[in-house]
């Protein structure tokens, strides 16, 4: 079910009241924007994080992304449930910190050797940890970063709004993204 009622759409409340010392805040986006960004991307990738170990629903969505042809970089141990569900991630051993460092290198050809990733989706991270990585990419790269987590991420280029009060809406939005890819 798609998110429709404008008036119910929560405000983009950042994950941490103090993490707002930013010149440019993420645009809070709805699922269809994410879909369009991914569709237009040359080399998109989904990076999954350790919170997949705590929320099987997130694993399900990641699997669906994979089924839609979005490659996955699994971090934080998220490879384990994904592999159990038949996903073969492009990488499993490198923490997000490494992955981000690699992405900051314009010459890096990606784990698949197909050139740098241009649109990077994030799912299932500790918000404060992801925030720092998004900050690095914001300042020092041209990559389009999109956070799909329940906490709005101010340093991303695009982010789901804050959905912490409504887990169902978060799942619905993820559903809407994967369904429309």
């Amino acid at each position: 079910m798609a998110v429709k009622k404008e008036d119910k759409y929560p405000a983009a409340r950042r994950y941490q009241v103090a993490d707002i010392q930013v010149s440019r805040e993420a645009t809070a986006v709805k699922p269809n924007v994410v879909v369009n960004l991914v569709k237009k991307a040359k080399h998109p990738v989904l990076v999954t994080g350790g919170q997949l170990l705590k929320d099987p629903k997130l694993v399900e969505f990641a699997v669906k992304f994979h089924e839609k042809g979005i490659p996955i970089i699994a971090t934080g141990g998220s490879s384990k449930p994904l592999i159990e569900k038949g996903v073969k991630p492009q990488s499993a051993v490198f923490p997000l910190h490494y992955v981000t460092q690699f992405m900051l290198d314009e010459e890096w050809q990606g784990f698949d050797g197909k050139g740098s990733y241009d649109v990077v989706l994030y799912l299932g991270f500790l918000p404060y940890y992801l925030s720092r990585m998004l900050s690095a990419l914001k300042h020092f790269s041209k990559i389009t970063t999109i956070s799909l987590d329940e906490f709005y991420q101010p340093h991303a280029k695009f982010s789901f709004t804050n959905l912490t009060a409504n887990k169902e809406m978060h799942y619905q939005m993820l559903e809407e993204v994967v369904n429309n890819l």
């Binding site: 009241v17 934080g76 051993v93 991270f125 940890y129 300042h139």
Partner: protein, 803 residues
């Protein structure tokens, strides 16, 4: 026979009016024959080349917290997207400068601590007090030997090391002034420089207190002491010490022992002073780390509180006042705005505190602290007759009253460092009257108190959380092995070869603070994985006390299950923060005692040795302080990689290599006289991981070293691959990088792995002999003798290194 010339004018024999000028006369009973290396007392320049080597490979990574710089009045400046500010600095360099400042603060903390302690001890014990760390220690001060180039024999000798550290900290701090460095690489080199100085500060502090206070001297079987929230006998007056410098509170033990009354009191500590109190007397106990400060104070357990310095809550006085606990602040680093009563008579101080005329005092005289604290504790205890004022909530109604105020506005969630779902805990309790969801938060809560600051309803959230887990919290108790100080030379002799050759798969040094991403139990789970696999695990500070309060299903802590020996499967607690110097020290001692590398003024060679040969990995699961930052940076310069928990990303800077750039991974081989490509082992010096699963795999991974023997590599790879399969569900992506020959492969998986190498990586395999013919970055050579340092190459090869 010795006589002493004091400061001033003096004459020899009849020769009046002779003036004598003397540099420094060292009492050299036995000459130190080790020749001086190239860099005694290095300045910023001497080791810059080494730093640049490291930084070229382990490239700095910056994750700004703020896009702005506010440090001068030409600002504030928007540096986003790496723009330059009014002074011309760009964002990366500005962040490197901040990191350098943080490291200066961290190094200054330990160095000033050491200075206070040393000045005080020299006054009390004389500068000639010999440095005797027990019969098993000949290499008494590896950091001082390696960095300063001296072999300290007495307390007085330690001053020379501190003088150097102070000078260098001030120099590096200078460089952070507006308009100095314009290169982030050079800031990083400076951060490494003060990080290294930090290890001098720590070593001086710990050696000084060990010899003066007669703390355990490298004993393996130090006692186990009670640890955790539920340790104290509430029927006795409770004296609580908090901080990181035991010199101010040690006299409490001394005084009570003299009086024969030590058993009439409970003495328990928070943070490193707790560790060091147990080293002074194993009758003292450990409450816990900084996250236990508000827990302990708000519980009302203490009858008096003694604070010294570092990592003490900056609302301590207010917190103590709120529950009527008299506070004695002792260190000039944290006077807390209190009146200085150091020259008051003891009874006047006691009266002021017991009567409540003063909620707290500043008392800088340790001897007086020793007398005042017990007197106050006893009087306060008598007043309340064991019925302490405050226990989170006086009644259940009070607790529920607070819970029912919650409207789930989530202000707390969005200010909590861990984004803990307090709203859900409150809602669940409101709906079901079940406190378990709130109680579970207690296991993760830092008790930082920010939630209460943010709550529009002024709910006492910390108290709600603590009260909701009341039973478990009060029953939390375990055992910590008392900090032993340094590692024995004999232990190093025994394990040197297996460490360097790789048969002991690694040393995991779990140190630092408590900003864990998860329940506290996670630290136990991670470390036990390595203890079982017979890594050496070393710990100190907050990590050590956390381990001491975490029990397994059988009710045992790791300290009870694993011996305190520095050997495979041993769990060594070196002690407090400053005891971290023994961890850097032991890496140096491996180079010195096992490999006979000279330490004296020879830092780059030793660091190069450690980087290439000693599979030590630092691990700080919950780092938050500047001290942790500078300690880690000091380890990094020494060639020791450090894995930090996810909050560690907020240090803003990491050192992460790019394995896929072959030109970055090379060494001179002294044996073959060639410059060779090598495997990226380790491939980062500082990295933050997100989960405990990831932490475990990375620790195993980063213990690989180019110089591993086949057997060693095989063992290390076995663990790495097993752990990856266990926690990541797959072999790690990068394992082939570390295979030099078939002998490196884990035995049980050999065929399978050879298959993969052939099919997935295109390696050529001789299946008859099960030999690898083609594929590895480099072939294995038992005589491989790697170095990154031209001077070291030249020294051992007798010629200039190849291009």
């Amino acid at each position: 026979m010795a006589f002493e010339l004091k400061k001033g004018l003096f004459a020899i024999d009849e020769m009046r009016n002779v003036s004598i000028k003397i540099g420094k006369v060292v009492e050299e009973e036995e000459e130190w024959t080790e020749p001086m290396g190239p860099t005694p007392k290095p300045g910023i320049l001497e080791l810059r080349k080494w730093d640049h080597k490291l930084l070229e490979r382990f490239e700095p990574f910056y994750a700004p917290m703020s896009d702005y710089c506010n440090l001068c009045t030409m600002g504030p400046c928007d540096l986003s997207m790496n723009k330059r500010g009014a002074c011309g600095i760009d964002l990366k360099t500005a962040k490197a400068r901040l990191v350098t400042i943080a490291c200066c603060i961290g190094a200054a903390a330990h160095t000033a601590h050491a200075r206070h302690l040393l000045d005080h001890l020299i006054e009390d014990y004389g500068e000639d007090l010999p440095i005797d760390l027990g019969g098993d220690i000949n290499v008494e001060a590896p950091n001082i030997r390696t960095i300063i180039g001296i072999k300290p024999r007495t307390l007085g000798d330690l001053r020379e090391a501190l003088d150097w550290a102070e000078k260098e900290i001030v120099k590096v701090l200078h460089a952070t002034h507006i308009g100095n460095e314009e290169s982030f690489i050079d800031y990083e080199s400076k951060a490494m420089h003060v990080g290294m100085a930090d290890h001098i500060g720590m070593e001086v502090a710990d050696i000084a207190q060990i010899v003066a206070y007669n703390l355990p001297k490298a004993e393996q079987d130090t006692p186990l002491v009670d640890t955790g929230f539920g340790i104290v006998d509430k029927s006795k007056p409770v004296i609580v010490v908090v901080g990181h410098n035991v010199m101010y509170s040690r006299p409490v033990v001394e005084y009570l022992e003299e009086q024969g009354r030590i058993d009439d009191f409970e003495i328990a500590g928070l943070c490193c002073t707790a560790h060091d109190m147990t080293r002074v007397s194993s009758k003292t106990k450990i409450f816990g780390p900084i996250s236990y400060q508000l827990r302990v104070i708000r519980s009302g357990l203490p009858d008096v509180l003694i604070s010294d310095e570092q990592c003490i809550r900056a609302d301590l006085l207010e917190a103590c006042k709120a529950v009527g606990i008299p506070l004695i602040a002792t260190s000039d680093a944290a006077i807390r705005g209190l009146p200085d009563v150091s020259d008051w008579p003891v009874d006047k101080i006691v009266d002021a505190l017991v009567s409540g005329k003063l909620p707290g005092v500043f008392l800088s005289d340790p001897e007086k602290v020793g007398q005042v604290a017990p007197l106050v504790a006893e009087a306060v205890f008598k007043k309340h007759g064991g019925e302490r004022k405050y226990r989170f909530f006086e009644t259940d109604e009070d607790l529920w009253g607070e819970i029912n105020k919650c409207t789930q506005c989530m202000s707390c969630v969005f200010t909590c460092p861990h984004n803990l779902r307090i709203d859900q805990g409150m809602a669940h309790a409101q709906k079901t009257k079940d406190l378990s969801k709130l109680g579970y938060l207690e296991e993760q809560c830092l008790a930082c108190g920010k939630c209460e600051q943010a709550c529009p309803k002024n709910i006492k959230i910390i108290n709600v959380i603590m009260a909701s887990n009341f039973e478990k919290l009060y029953n939390k108790s375990g055992k910590t092995r008392v900090g032993r100080g340094p590692i024995q030379d004999t232990e190093v002799r025994n394990v040197g070869q297996p460490i360097v050759m790789g048969q002991i798969p690694g040393i995991i040094a779990a140190v630092g603070c408590i900003n864990f991403p998860d329940e506290m139990q996670s630290i136990r789970e991670i470390l036990e994985e390595f203890l079982k696999r017979r890594y050496i695990v070393v710990t100190s500070g907050c990590h050590a006390m956390d381990i001491g309060m975490l029990k397994d299903e059988e009710g045992q802590t790791l300290f009870e299950k694993y011996p305190g020996i520095f050997d495979a499967g041993g769990l060594v607690n070196t002690g407090s923060c400053v005891s971290n110097s023994h961890i850097s020290g032991v890496a140096m001692k491996v180079a010195s005692i096992f490999a006979m590398r000279p330490l004296r003024g020879n830092y780059a060679e030793i660091a190069d040795y450690i980087l290439n040969r000693v599979g030590a990995v630092g691990f700080s699961w919950g780092p938050y302080s500047h001290k942790a930052a500078s300690i880690a940076t000091g380890f990094n310069r020494l060639g020791v990689p450090v894995v930090v928990g996810p909050h560690g990303a907020k240090y803003r800077r990491a050192y992460i290599g790019r394995y896929y750039k072959p030109e970055k991974w090379w060494a001179y081989d002294i044996k073959t006289r060639k410059k060779m490509n090598i495997e990226p082992a380790p491939d980062s010096l500082l990295v933050a991981v997100e989960t405990k699963e990831e932490a475990i795999v990375q620790l195993a991974r980063l213990a690989l070293r180019p110089n591993d023997t086949s057997q060693g590599r095989q063992i290390k790879l076995t663990h790495y691959l097993e752990l990856s399969q266990k926690y990541l569900g797959t072999l790690p992506d990068d394992w082939p990088l570390y295979v030099r020959s078939e002998a490196d492969l884990p035995l049980k998986m050999k065929d399978q792995l050879l298959q993969i190498l052939e099919s997935d990586y295109g390696w050529k395999i001789d299946w008859d002999k099960k030999k690898i013919l083609e594929g590895p970055i480099r072939p294995f050579d038992a005589g491989f003798n790697p170095t990154l340092v031209e001077e070291v190459y030249e020294k051992y090869a007798g010629e200039k290194p190849p291009q």
